[in-house]
């Protein structure tokens, strides 16, 4: 049974878990292995060991990071869903595999029973999440609403005909950055239906294998619909193995088995020196996990910063031989790759053919060209035959090019005098049924590689120094945490804040929903930052000028009431400019003193309490999820619940109504939503196109809204109306234009990669954290700040950086300054130097894509390692053989 594909197909007893597995190595399935010994006898590398045993190793470490990950909830125990009983009921993990090109059906959307394309698919949300009746998981898994929407979108894309997709949910929780836009696209453009209901029974229709889904709609009416397939959106759970690990290490977990953490120390565990990240910390998606991983690395490294780099062995490289002006002397090494290549391609014939090619002075073939002893042999042959170009005909440069390049470097040959012919992945593996054709194609590929090798030039990676100082822009919670953590890593930091005091928006907050005191935290944080000997704080400070590149920035700062100018040199930048609360125009805000924002309500509760309040109504999504601001502000639902709980605590008799669209108390916040309902807070859903109506009368404010359960309008007379005003990005237009930083249409800065580089900005050496990136909670801003400090540390920890040699160069003599390259570069790298009157391409910031080289009408721009001649010669060599 194939476990990765959730048992939807079988696999052999010797297998690679999946195509992207690390390490990409074969394993033996002990349940399926007969012990016949065939693989052991066949393996040329002698890599199969049946008697291999578990070995114990002792490691000494200064810090530990726990990231044991998550397991999808197993719905087998929920009999009403029919998982395991009805073949066409699959989990979301199983459906993910069905959609995958590497999955059981090679990416064709089919249902398991009869391998027919489904006509309709239902997704059932919150299976194993937000459920204490059927399972013990009281939390929201945070990711299922987005992945269900995604799966529905991809299923629609794969099935070209009509496919009805329905997502049955209690609340759609698409709260992350840009997630609401995705949800709207799914609903409004792709026609995916989102049904507000929790399904209570699924039954199979025996003749067709279709599934009858029974549910109660919002008005309480029982409905039934038939679907071809049902996908259970299973939640994230912590596996027993992780719980046992925590026990062994004496780490406290909460009742839902996640690591117990403090909102102000999100990745720290109950034990000093042990940190955590990912879903073990709490349910979260990929960007959150990647961010926390960097945060944990930051804290783990801070305590060990003195020892940084002490265990690294440096490699001494011999001086490079000068090959300029030499005639190419090419050595060709053809690999058998065990039997992967040699079993199909006639390797001796290919080697013999290579001998006949121009400039080839040496050929060889190896069983495994990548093995350590072959590297030594290659080095010997380079010296013995005075080779100045090397071609290896084997596998993919993606996996093996860097290793062979190192071999060249180790014997004094420039690493760019190397070329690979991929005669395995692009040849023997795919033409295994036609060995003669594969041999001919291998010859073609070797001929092309040899032709290119002859044109290669040595390239040198320029080494530039890195200024060891950081600039942090913004002195709120995120900026201060970033500065403090960089200081702890031992780097000098200049922290600039535009206001006269540190603290930012958090100065307006009192408590977190967990009850932690924000003011006390800020006071302590400011004290730590201002007293840290590595941190210099500049208040009333703004960026006035900017230049330079990664590792070597120069920023001009205007500081103090006198606007004194000061130039700062620094190696990295952390942007933490924050956000603010939306100022509502809706619902009589500013006209009636009884209408306040949640921030103002929290102030009021702090000052006067709630004893004089009979009724409080709250309206969610004010200034969010509407025409003007499509995005969700993420924090307002928990903010409303927090204030509602505070009111109930101070005066249990106060009636509290929360009018909402989807309650987005994600992750562990769900427990507070449950608590609020238990304490009598009344939650009433309204539709975006039928919002509550508010009018002021002498004895209070009247809020009119439709009650979905009663199916009629109700009126609530209230003392206070609290608006959950969303977040807005701080105004950073000037800063963005000076520093060339990109923001999205909402004004939040854009990260380099949404999932994989969530705190890096597109420009190298520039990092991002806090609400400048998008709305988020304090705990999330703190882990993001620690992550940004961590990413900045990886940069600052090196005294110098090597630039990629694959960069564009302009031949200024032939350039006619048409500026096409200036207009075409996606990263604004080529500039016209108005003094020297030439186009300049700074290799320090060039990304090496070759767009400018492609557009240059006079071919005066060449991309290193991919010069026009180095590509054209391959075309010529290929076609010289006739096709």
């Amino acid at each position: 049974m194939n476990e990765i594909n959730k048992g939807l197909n079988d696999q052999r007893a010797t297998y690679i878990e999946y195509a992207q597995a690390v390490p990409l190595a074969f394993a033996i399935d002990p349940h399926a292995c007969l012990g016949c010994g065939l693989c052991e006898n066949t393996c040329l590398a002698k890599a199969v060991k049946y008697d291999d045993k578990v070995r114990e190793t002792k490691l000494t470490a200064g810090s530990i990071i726990l990231s044991p990950g998550t397991k999808g909830f197993d719905p087998s125990g929920l009999d009403y869903l029919g998982y395991g009983k009805y073949p066409n009921v699959v989990t979301s993990e199983g459906f993910e595999r069905i959609l995958s090109a590497g999955g059981p059906y090679f990416g064709h959307v089919m249902r398991p029973l009869d391998r027919q394309e489904p006509k309709s698919i239902a997704w059932l949300q919150c299976v194993g999440s937000r459920d204490t009746n059927r399972c013990e998981n009281s939390y929201c898994s945070s990711v299922c609403c987005m992945y269900a929407t995604k799966e529905a979108m991809i299923a629609k894309e794969h099935i070209h005909g009509d496919l009805d997709c329905a997502v049955f949910n209690m609340d759609m929780r698409t709260f992350g950055k840009d997630y609401e836009k995705y949800f709207l696209r799914a609903r409004d453009k792709e026609g995916i239906r989102f049904v507000k209901a929790r399904v209570h029974t699924i039954t199979e229709i025996a003749e067709t294998g279709d599934l009858a889904v029974r549910y109660a709609d919002e008005s309480g009416e029982i409905k039934e619909q038939i679907f071809s397939m049902v996908v259970l959106s299973v939640g994230l759970t912590i596996p027993d193995s992780a719980v046992n690990l925590a026990k062994r290490l004496n780490i406290d977990l909460n009742k839902n088995r996640f690591v117990k953490s403090d909102p102000f120390a999100p990745v720290e565990t109950s034990r000093d020196g042990i940190f955590t990240c990912g879903v073990f910390q709490g349910p979260k998606d990929i960007p959150g996990s990647v961010t926390e991983a960097s945060a944990a690395a930051c804290l783990a490294g801070a305590e060990l910063s003195e020892a940084r780099g002490s265990d690294i062995t440096t490699v001494e490289l011999p001086e490079q031989a000068d090959v300029a002006g030499q005639k190419p002397r090419i050595g060709v090494f053809v690999c058998n790759c065990g039997i992967n290549i040699g079993g199909i391609v006639d390797v001796p014939a290919v080697e013999k053919y290579a001998e006949t090619l121009p400039d080839v002075v040496f050929t060889d073939s190896n069983l495994f060209t990548c093995s350590q002893d072959t590297q030594e042999k290659i080095k010997e042959k380079i010296k013995e035959h005075n080779l100045n170009r090397v071609v290896v005909a084997s596998c993919s440069p993606k996996t093996h090019e860097p290793m062979f390049m190192e071999t060249l470097e180790a014997c004094g040959l420039n690493r760019y005098l190397f070329e690979m012919a991929n005669i395995r992945n692009q040849n023997s593996w795919i033409h295994s049924k036609t060995p003669e054709i594969a041999t001919e194609k291998a010859k073609d590929l070797v001929r092309m590689a040899v032709a290119r090798a002859g044109t290669l030039k040595p390239l040198n990676e320029k080494i530039i120094p890195v200024n060891q100082q950081a600039l942090v822009i913004g002195g709120g919670i995120a900026g201060m945490n970033a500065a403090l953590n960089l200081g702890r890593q031992g780097f000098k930091v200049i922290l600039i804040e535009k206001e006269s005091v540190l603290g930012g928006f958090s100065l307006k907050l009192h408590h977190t929903i967990e009850g932690s005191d924000v003011r006390a935290y800020i006071k302590e944080l400011i004290a730590q930052v201002t007293s840290h000997d590595k941190i210099e704080v500049l208040t009333q400070a703004q960026v006035a000028g900017f230049g330079g590149y990664k590792g070597n920035f120069k920023t001009e700062i205007e500081t103090g009431p006198e606007k004194e100018r000061r130039e700062i040199e620094h190696g990295v930048i952390i942007v933490a400019t924050g956000a603010k609360e939306y100022q509502p125009k809706e619902y009589l805000y500013g006209e009636d003193p009884g209408v306040v924002t949640q921030i103002e309500l929290a102030d009021r509760l702090e000052d006067k309490g709630a004893s004089d309040l009979n009724t409080v109504v709250m309206i969610q999504c004010v200034g969010s999820r509407n025409q003007e601001m499509q995005e969700c502000s993420k924090i307002c639902c928990q903010n409303a619940v927090k204030n509602a709980l505070n009111i109930k605590k101070q005066n249990p008799d106060t009636q509290v109504f929360i009018l909402y669209r989807d309650m987005r108390t994600y992750g562990l916040l769900e427990d507070y939503f449950t608590e609020a309902r238990e304490k009598g807070v009344i939650f009433m859903r309204f539709d975006a196109d039928n919002p509550p109506d508010v009018k002021a009368e002498a004895d209070g404010i009247i809020v009119r809204t439709k009650d979905h359960i009663l199916q009629r309008d109700v009126e609530i007379r209230t003392d206070l109306l609290a608006l959950s005003a969303g977040m807005r990005a701080a105004d950073t237009k000037e800063l963005s234009s000076i520093m060339k930083l990109n923001a999205n249409q909402e004004g939040y800065f854009i990260e380099a990669h949404v999932k994989l580089r969530p705190v890096d900005m597109p420009g190298e050496g520039i990092f991002l954290c806090g609400t400048a990136h998008g709305p988020k909670l304090i705990s999330e801003a703190i882990s993001q700040a620690q992550a940004a400090a961590s990413r900045a540390t990886t940069f600052l920890a090196r005294p110098e950086i090597k630039l990629s040699a694959i960069a564009a160069k302009v031949d200024t003599e032939y350039c006619v300054k048409c500026l096409t390259c200036v207009r075409s570069c996606p990263f604004d790298v080529p500039v016209f130097n108005t003094e020297k009157k030439v186009i300049e391409i700074d290799e320090a910031i060039c990304h090496g894509c070759g767009a400018c080289a492609g557009v240059c009408p006079r071919q005066t721009i060449q991309l290193g390692f991919y010069e026009d001649d180095q590509i054209k010669c391959k075309i010529d060599a290929l076609l010289a053989g006739g096709m």
Partner: protein, 114 residues
């Protein structure tokens, strides 16, 4: 994945399809290739923002140029896929080879074999 596709296809590596010059495509046809195609990232997901759109424009331009000199423009094509789509890659390779076999050898190809 070791998916089969015709051996007529040989791959030339570029950092981004945005690097593919009109000259490369024309040269391949001039030197006798029966077909040339560029495989770039899915539209909107170019690692360098817009390289695949540049390539698409150039492919269209070359198709037009070829038609003008009486060679079928459809010998040059652009395909898009993500790096995780091995089966699609193989399917496109088969589709291209089938298509080229249908339109026959390149009239500029002296050796004239497909």
């Amino acid at each position: 994945m070791r998916l089969e596709y015709p051996a007529n296809v040989k791959i030339i590596r570029v950092p981004c399809t945005g690097k593919v010059d009109v000259m490369y495509l024309l040269r391949a046809i001039q030197k006798g290739a029966d077909g040339v195609y560029c495989v770039g990232c899915l539209e909107g997901t170019c690692h360098y923002n817009e390289g695949n759109f540049r390539c698409k424009e150039r492919v269209n331009h070359v198709r037009m140029l070829l038609e003008e000199v009486g060679i079928q423009g459809d010998r040059v094509r652009m395909y898009n896929l993500s790096s995780g789509e091995g089966p699609t890659f193989a399917a496109y390779a088969r589709e291209m080879v089938e298509h080229i076999k249908e339109i026959g050898p390149n009239p500029l190809n002296n050796s004239a074999k497909v």
